[in-house]
C-alpha cells in the first residue's frame, strides 16, 4: 500500500473511519481542529454522520446517546474542551458504553496556550470526572502510531465496553509524517450485542442508565467495574524499551513527543559510550508497571530513573509507584509550550551519572 503524507490530526480522523467509525460529534479548538476539518470532508463520502455541536458539553452527551445505540463514535478536543467533557464521560463509563475520544493536549492551566504539552496526564489517567471509573489511555509518539492506536482504541472500547482516550500532545497532532493504513475503506460497524438500544420490538426492553437507588446495587456495580479495570490492567498494557537497559547506568521514562526527543538524546549519548535506555509507556492507563519494574530491575545497581515530561511532573507519580522505593528519582520538565531539547535532555542525563 502506498504511503501518504498526513498531519497527525488528519491521520487520526482517517484511522477512525478505517476502524469503522462513521459518527463524529465535536467542537473546534486549536490544536486539534484538523480532526473535525478532515472528517467533515470525509464522512459524507462514506455515508457517515458529522455534527459540529454547540459546545464540548453537547459533544460528549451526543456521544453518550450515539454510543448507547451501539454505533462506533468519536469526539475530539484539546485540553480545556476535554475538561468540559468530564461529567458526560463519567456517565458513559458508568453505563459501560464504548466510545473513543481524542485529546490533543495544549499548554495549561486555564486557557493557557496553543502549543504542545503533556499536562493533562493526571486528568486522563486518574478519571477526570467524578466517581470510580477509568479510561483506557493510549499515547502515540508518531503519526503512524497515532493511526495504529486509533484503530486499537475502537477495538478496546468495544471489547471492554469502555471509553478509550487517544492522548497526544499538540506536536503529534500538528506534524506531518508519511503513514500507511493497514486496511482499505471504511471498517466494519460494531458487532451485534446484548445492550445497545436498537428498538425493542420483538424483544425485551434494554435500559442505559447510571442511576442506582439501592446502595447495595451501586456497590455491586462498582465492584463489577473494578473487576473490568483489573482485567484491562492485566491484559492491555503496552510499552517500548529503547536502547540497552541491561546494566544501564540510567533509565529515562517519557511518552509521546517527549519520548522521541529522549531517543535523539540517547542516540547521541550512546555514541559517546553512555549506557542509557528509555522506557516508553504506550498505554498511560493501564500503566505498564510490570514491564517498567522489570526494566528497572535490570539496570546497574545504583542507576537512577529520570522522568522527562512536557509538564511540571505528573507521570513521575506512576514511575515512583512502579519503582516502589527501589530507585532514586530525578525529573526534567518544561511547560507552557516550551519543550526540552535533545541537548538539554542529554545534559541532564550526563549530570546524573
Amino acid at each position: 500500500m502506498t504511503k501518504v503524507l498526513m498531519k497527525g490530526n488528519e491521520a487520526l480522523g482517517e484511522a477512525a473511519i478505517r476502524a469503522g467509525c462513521v459518527h463524529f460529534f465535536g467542537y473546534p479548538i486549536t490544536p486539534q481542529t484538523e480532526v473535525p476539518e478532515y472528517l467533515v470532508k470525509r464522512l459524507p463520502e462514506v455515508g457517515g454522520v458529522f455534527v459540529q455541536a454547540e459546545s464540548e458539553i453537547a459533544s460528549i452527551n451526543m456521544i453518550y446517546g450515539a454510543a448507547g445505540t451501539g454505533v462506533k463514535c468519536l469526539t475530539s478536543s484539546s485540553s480545556p474542551g476535554i475538561s468540559l467533557m468530564a461529567e458526560g464521560l463519567s456517565y458513559i463509563a458508568a453505563c459501560e458504553l464504548p466510545c473513543v475520544l481524542i485529546n490533543i493536549m495544549r499548554a495549561g492551566p486555564g486557557l493557557g496556550g496553543i502549543l504542545p504539552a503533556q499536562s493533562d496526564y493526571h486528568q486522563a489517567t486518574r478519571g477526570h470526572g467524578h466517581g470510580d471509573y477509568q479510561l483506557i489511555v493510549l499515547a502515540p509518539a508518531s503519526v503512524q502510531e497515532a493511526v495504529d492506536l486509533m484503530m486499537l482504541a475502537f477495538d478496546l472500547s468495544e471489547r471492554y465496553r469502555n471509553p478509550v482516550m487517544v492522548c497526544a500532545d499538540g506536536m503529534i497532532g500538528q506534524m506531518m509524517e508519511p503513514v500507511e493504513f493497514p486496511t482499505e475503506g471504511a471498517g466494519e460497524p460494531m458487532a451485534e450485542n446484548e445492550w445497545a438500544l436498537t428498538g425493542c420490538e420483538g424483544r425485551e426492553r434494554r435500559i442505559v442508565n447510571s442511576l442506582y437507588l439501592s446502595p447495595e446495587d451501586l456497590n455491586e456495580h462498582n465492584k463489577k467495574l473494578k473487576a473490568k479495570y483489573d482485567l484491562i490492567a492485566e491484559k492491555e498494557t503496552r510499552h517500548e524499551v529503547y536502547g540497552e537497559h541491561e546494566g544501564a547506568d540510567i533509565l529515562v521514562v517519557a511518552f509521546g513527543t517527549m519520548a522521541r526527543i529522549v531517543k535523539s538524546a540517547i542516540d547521541d549519548l550512546q555514541s559517546e559510550g553512555v549506557k542509557v535506555a528509555l522506557f516508553r509507556p504506550i498505554t498511560l492507563k493501564p500503566w505498564p508497571y510490570k514491564a517498567g519494574r522489570a526494566t528497572m530491575d535490570a539496570l546497574a545497581p545504583d542507576a537512577p530513573v529520570l522522568t522527562v515530561e512536557m509538564s511540571m511532573g505528573q507521570m513521575i507519580d506512576d514511575v515512583r509507584l512502579c519503582a516502589d522505593g527501589s530507585r532514586r528519582h530525578e525529573f526534567l520538565g518544561e511547560a507552557g509550550g516550551v519543550v526540552p531539547s535533545p541537548e538539554e535532555v542529554a545534559a541532564k542525563i550526563k549530570s546524573l551519572l
Binding site: 499538540g170 500538528q174 506531518m176 541537548e343
Partner: protein, 276 residues
C-alpha cells in the same frame, strides 16, 4: 528581474509571488527556501507570513534564519506571532506594490480557508501584476491526481478571487522521499500543467536527491530544498520546532548530530547566522 540562481526560478516580469495550495502541500518550506535562495542571489526579498490557519510550523518560525540571510520578514510582532489570531499587518499591503529590485513573497495558509485572506487584497492586485503559484504535493490525500489538484485550484481561485498563474511541484514524503516519489510528483505536476495550460515554475527536491541522474527528465527549474520546518526531536536548531521554544536561547552546549540526521542537518549555511 530574473534571480541569478544556478537554474533560475522566474517570476516573469513581476516581483510579487504568492504561494497557495492545498493544506500541507509544503508552501512554507517552499517559501522559506525560495526567500533564502533569492536573497543569496543578491535580491532584496521580503516575505510575509500570511498563514492565518495553522497554529504550528509557520514561516515565522524561521524568521531569525531568514533575517540572517537578509530577508525582510513581515510577521505579527512579539508575543502575537504565537497567537492563533487572524492578524493581517498593514505592512502586507505595502508588499503588494512593486519596488525596484525587490521580490515580495506571500506565504498563505492552506486550502480555500487559508486563501480567503487574499480576497481582501483584491483591490490592490491587478491581473498580470502578481504571480500566484499553486504548490502541489502528490503524496497528500486530496491532491494525489490531476483532478484533485484542479479541484483545489478552483477552490483557491474562488476564495482568493485571483487567478493561479503557475505551479510548483513539491511531492515528497519527508524522510521517506525517494527518487521515485519525486518522479511520480513531476509526472503529476506535468500532467496538471498540460491539462490547465499553466507553466511549472519550479519543482522542489530535497537537496540530497537533487543531483540524482534519474531526475534528468525533470525539465522545470529545480528548487533544492533544505528541510527547515523541523520537529523538536531533531537537534541542533535554535529556531523552528513548530513554534515551541520560540523565545528561548539555543542550548548552551550543543552536542553532535546523530548520524541518521546528519545528511539533512550539516549543510553549513545556517551555521553562523544564529543571531544570538
Amino acid at each position: 528581474m530574473s534571480p541569478a540562481a544556478p537554474q533560475p526560478i522566474r517570476a516573469p516580469g513581476e516581483q510579487l509571488v504568492i504561494l497557495v495550495g492545498a493544506y500541507g502541500s509544503g508552501k512554507t518550506e517552499v517559501a522559506v527556501n525560495l526567500a533564502i535562495r533569492w536573497a543569496r542571489a543578491g535580491l532584496r526579498v521580503k516575505l510575509a507570513d500570511l498563514d492565518l490557519v495553522n497554529p504550528y510550523f509557520r514561516s515565522r518560525e524561521q524568521q531569525r534564519v531568514m533575517e540572517g540571510h537578509g530577508v525582510h520578514v513581515v510577521v505579527p510582532p512579539g508575543k502575537l506571532a504565537g497567537a492563533d489570531l487572524p492578524i493581517v499587518l498593514p505592512e502586507v499591503v505595502g508588499l503588494l506594490q512593486p519596488e525596484p529590485d525587490t521580490i515580495s513573497l506571500l506565504d498563505v495558509g492552506g486550502d480555500e480557508v487559508g486563501a480567503r485572506v487574499l480576497g481582501s487584497f483584491r483591490p490592490n492586485l491587478h491581473e498580470g501584476a502578481y504571480e500566484l503559484w499553486q504548490v502541489v504535493n502528490g503524496s497528500r490525500p486530496f491532491t494525489a491526481n490531476p483532478a484533485g489538484c484542479h479541484a483545489i485550484r478552483a477552490e483557491l481561485e474562488a476564495a482568493s478571487r485571483l487567478r493561479v498563474t503557475g505551479l510548483v511541484g513539491n511531492t515528497h514524503l519527508i524522510d521517506e522521499t525517494e527518487v521515485e516519489t519525486v518522479l511520480g510528483g513531476w509526472r503529476l505536476v506535468e500532467q496538471v500543467a498540460k491539462e490547465s495550460g499553466l507553466p511549472v515554475r519550479a519543482v522542489g527536491i530535497r537537496n540530497e536527491l537533487a543531483a540524482d541522474p534519474a531526475l534528468a527528465e525533470i525539465t522545470a527549474p529545480v528548487l533544492e530544498l533544505d528541510r527547515r520546518m523541523l520537529p523538536p526531536w531533531i537537534p541542533g536548531q535554535s529556531d523552528g520546532h513548530g513554534g515551541c521554544n520560540r523565545d528561548r536561547k539555543p542550548a548552551p552546549r550543543p552536542i553532535g548530530v546523530p548520524p541518521r540526521l546528519r545528511a539533512q542537518d550539516s549543510r553549513g549555511e545556517v551555521d553562523g547566522v544564529h543571531p544570538d
